[in-house]
């Protein structure tokens, strides 16, 4: 990819003659309008002056793998960057497959950014370990810092948040989503909400649902009251429903609301009072939270249902009966996250009303292989019939049929993301007892816009043959407990030219399958394979033939023998070479 091609010694060339200077200025002015990073990558390949102009004008830098490039290199190329997105650990880290201490620490980037990136305004970090010290460093070094978004990160606590609140005078966005904070003892906890400056703030978005400690409510209410630009407020479960009502009264202009507990702990609140608060929120389009839902209060949201485009009920075990009266009013719903407690019947209700639905996620209440499972192929079919504009689906279930998946593939041609998780490993079609090959085959065949696919259930190499043959746009593929032989992996690596991210676990793919991707690995962001049939010699072969890849073997302490099976392989292209912060249990080949 273009962002990785670079010439050494750029800074040493003599200043260009006058006409080149003019050209560069013109070019810079034109390139300002180019926002898509792939276009920019292409533009930078044209010639040196285009490369230089593009580097000077790129404001949004996206680094999909923080180990692909050294921070100094990235920052010295893009000196005027204003927004940085950085991603760290591989996605399977979310499921405990990456051992503690593997890496993805933010410190080296923080140290590179703070003196060299004075223009940085926005930072988004995903699956990265960020310490309080890192946050403090950024907060104190970056005068224009406005937006901080932390997704699935860890390593920080209330001390770091206080540093941000206190020092970032222009803070507009502080979104903390699905992070795991460090455990702080009572006496270590900092009242970060009180640290915001006393004057009116520029805050537009404040999300702290993942902060599992009580915040100072008086300070929070005062903060909301002096933040006239606040549009998105997502509070944690320690904010009671009575407190929520007070916050809503202070901010009737909210568009996004994370409702905290929404339960009956702590004080009495009449449903009618809460309903008035919602009635006054004329701009509300997104609701989430409901962390300790008392269903008695649900009717309070009726006034906004008609305008809602997004609802997240996935943290509460809401039943069909509780869902129906709400969902039947949500004609404009586009995004819906829910637990499977609503059952197929609940999904039917969604299908009947939400004709504009684009994204659906159904999570399991009991995420185990042998739980009851409350949604099935019936729910999937119902959704496919009612929600023809569906673009993205994540569906956890215990029972599924090929027929249902085929039906969805035909009814929902707009699908870009299809992630089906049949929770029982190797589970076949519940009626025909056949493998789920045909269903997933139909998805790749019929959904021409599909870029992300996650497969499950009993799958043979045939499924992968379909993916390789028809999945020409697939960029991300997740595989678990599937396939019969190396052929399966070969089909995918040879057939999917756009494949960038491939994560596989517990599947019988070995060295031969791995080696069939040699021609393609430089075009990929990463490959993860764990509990497959790889051996040391296969991985060494890849490392030898592709020096631009970093090939990490995780967990196996001693690699003595050629044919020694390896447990976890994580490999990625990189300009930075083997990383220096690899822990003892990571061997870089």
């Amino acid at each position: 990819m273009a962002e990785d091609e670079e010439e050494e010694g750029r800074g040493d060339t003599p200043p260009p003659p006058f006409s080149d200077q003019v050209l560069e200025n013109v070019l810079e002015n034109v390139l300002q309008f180019l926002s898509c990073r792939r276009d920019r990558n292409s533009a930078s390949l044209v010639c040196r002056s285009w490369y230089a102009a593009e580097s000077q004008t790129r404001h949004d830098l996206f680094v999909g793998n923080m180990y692909a490039v050294s921070p100094y290199r990235a920052i010295s190329r893009f000196r005027r960057v204003r927004a940085l997105v950085l991603k760290g650990k591989p996605r399977f880290a979310d499921f405990g497959l990456v051992p503690f201490g593997w890496g993805a620490g933010f410190a080296s980037w923080a140290n590179a950014i703070s003196p060299n990136c004075p223009s940085l305004e926005r930072l988004t970090l995903k699956r990265i370990t960020v310490s309080d010290a890192d946050l403090s460093l950024l907060a104190r070094s970056l005068p224009f810092f406005r937006d901080l978004t932390l997704l699935c990160c860890d390593g920080f606590g209330t001390l770091g948040l206080a540093a941000i609140a206190e020092n970032c005078k222009r803070l507009r966005v502080l979104d903390l989503i699905d992070n795991v904070l460090i455990d702080e003892e009572e006496e270590e906890l900092v009242d970060w909400v009180s640290r915001f400056p006393a004057s009116p703030t520029c805050l537009e978005s404040l999300a702290f649902e993942c902060i599992d400690v009580e915040v100072n409510f008086v300070a929070l209410e005062a903060l909301v009251a002096r933040s006239p630009s606040l549009r998105r407020l997502r509070v944690n479960q320690h904010v009671s429903i009575g407190q929520l009502r007070r916050l809503m009264a202070r901010a009737p202009q909210l568009t996004h609301l994370g409702t905290g507990a929404f339960g009956s702990g702590g004080g009495v609140l009449v449903v009618g009072d809460l309903e008035s608060a919602f009635a006054s929120s004329r701009s509300m389009v997104c609701l989430s939270g409901f962390r300790e839902l008392d269903p008695e209060y649900l009717p309070a949201i009726y006034p906004v249902c008609g305008n809602l485009t997004s609802i997240n009920f996935s943290y509460t075990d809401i039943s069909v009966e509780q869902l129906k009266p709400i969902i039947l009013q949500c004609h404009n719903l586009q995004t819906f996250w829910v637990l499977d407690t609503v059952r197929d019947e609940g999904l039917q209700a969604v299908a009947e009303t939400c004709k504009d639905l684009r994204e659906l996620r159904v999570f399991p209440l009991h995420p185990t292989e042998d739980s009851e499972g409350s949604v099935s192929d019936f729910g999937l079919i119902a959704i496919s019939k009612g929600c023809r504009k569906l673009e993205s689906i994540l569906y956890f279930c215990q029972r599924m049929t090929n027929a249902a998946v085929v039906t969805m593939s035909k009814n929902c041609p707009e699908l870009v993301v299809f992630r089906l998780c049949i929770m029982g490993r190797h589970r076949p079609d519940r009626i025909t007892r056949e493998a789920m090959d045909e269903g997933f085959g139909a998805i790749v065949m019929n959904c021409k816009k599909l870029t992300r696919l996650a497969v499950s259930g009993l799958l043979t190499d045939k499924a992968f043959e379909y993916i390789g043959k028809y999945g020409k746009s697939v960029r991300t593929l997740s595989v678990a407990f599937a396939g019969n032989s190396d052929l399966g992996l070969r089909y995918v690596l040879e057939g999917c030219p756009k494949l960038q991210k491939l994560e596989i676990r517990d599947s019988p793919f070995g060295d031969a399958g791995l080696l069939s991707g040699i021609h393609h690995f430089y075009n990929m962001r990463f490959l993860w394979m764990s509990s497959c049939r790889l051996t040391r010699s296969g991985c060494m072969e890849v490392a030898r033939r592709l020096p631009g890849l970093v090939v990490e073997v995780i967990g196996d302490r001693y690699l003595d023998e050629e044919n020694q099976a390896i447990e976890k392989l994580y490999m990625y292209r990189s300009l930075a070479g083997p990383r220096e912060d690899a822990p003892p249990f990571v061997k870089i080949l």
């Binding site: 503690f100 460090i182 943290y315 185990t368 822990p583």
Partner: protein, 182 residues
């Protein structure tokens, strides 16, 4: 009376000709018919323990793929042990490690597996495998419901998981002298 006696004779006669696996003269007890009643789960295709009530399958790490954050936030709410396989998450601290971890005690079948998992988890803090490493240099302890700190491994596994509130891995001099036999 007659009918009852006849009935009894009939049953006795039947019992004599009944095929059993025991030696002659021994009457095999009737098989318990309790099997199906407690179980409202689907029979797993690969294994069906007919004689006892089904044991929840030991969970595979990270499967189904639900983010730890999501699982923990729901568990933390419930706060107590769920019998339908929901998992018991307890904090694990290790002396010297910068962060605590959480483990699901239900994911393991016994102490050996738990130890193995903890070793894996704290690899970077050299819980296992360094040169010259001595196994008695660490001890795994837990806080029970009474607030006392106990050595892991003394009580039956089932009793342990129902009374364990959190764990701590002690290293070095504090651990020396504590028996760590599995």
């Amino acid at each position: 009376m007659e009918a009852i006696l006849d009935n009894f004779k009939f049953k006795a006669a039947r019992a004599l000709t009944e095929l059993t696996l025991g030696p002659p003269g021994v009457i095999a007890p009737e098989k318990s018919s309790v099997v199906g009643q407690k179980c409202n789960k689907r029979a797993l295709p690969e294994k069906n323990d007919g004689a006892t009530s089904p044991v929840a399958k030991a969970q595979v790490v990270g499967w189904p793929p639900v983010r730890a954050y999501r699982m923990n936030s729901f568990r933390a709410r419930k706060g107590e042990v769920d019998d339908d396989g929901c998992g018991i998450y307890v904090k694990v601290s290790m002396d010297g490690a910068p962060y605590l971890r959480k483990v699901d005690l239900k994911a393991y079948n016994g102490y050996k597996e738990l130890r193995g998992a903890l070793e894996d988890m704290f690899k970077c803090c050299s819980l296992g495998g360094e040169e010259g490493y001595d196994e008695s240099e660490y001890a795994i302890t837990y806080e029970d419901k009474d607030g006392d700190w106990m050595l892991v491994g003394d009580v039956p596994w089932g009793m342990f998981i129902s009374s364990c509130k959190r764990m701590r891995i002690m290293k070095g001099s504090e651990a020396r002298g504590l028996s760590s036999s599995a």
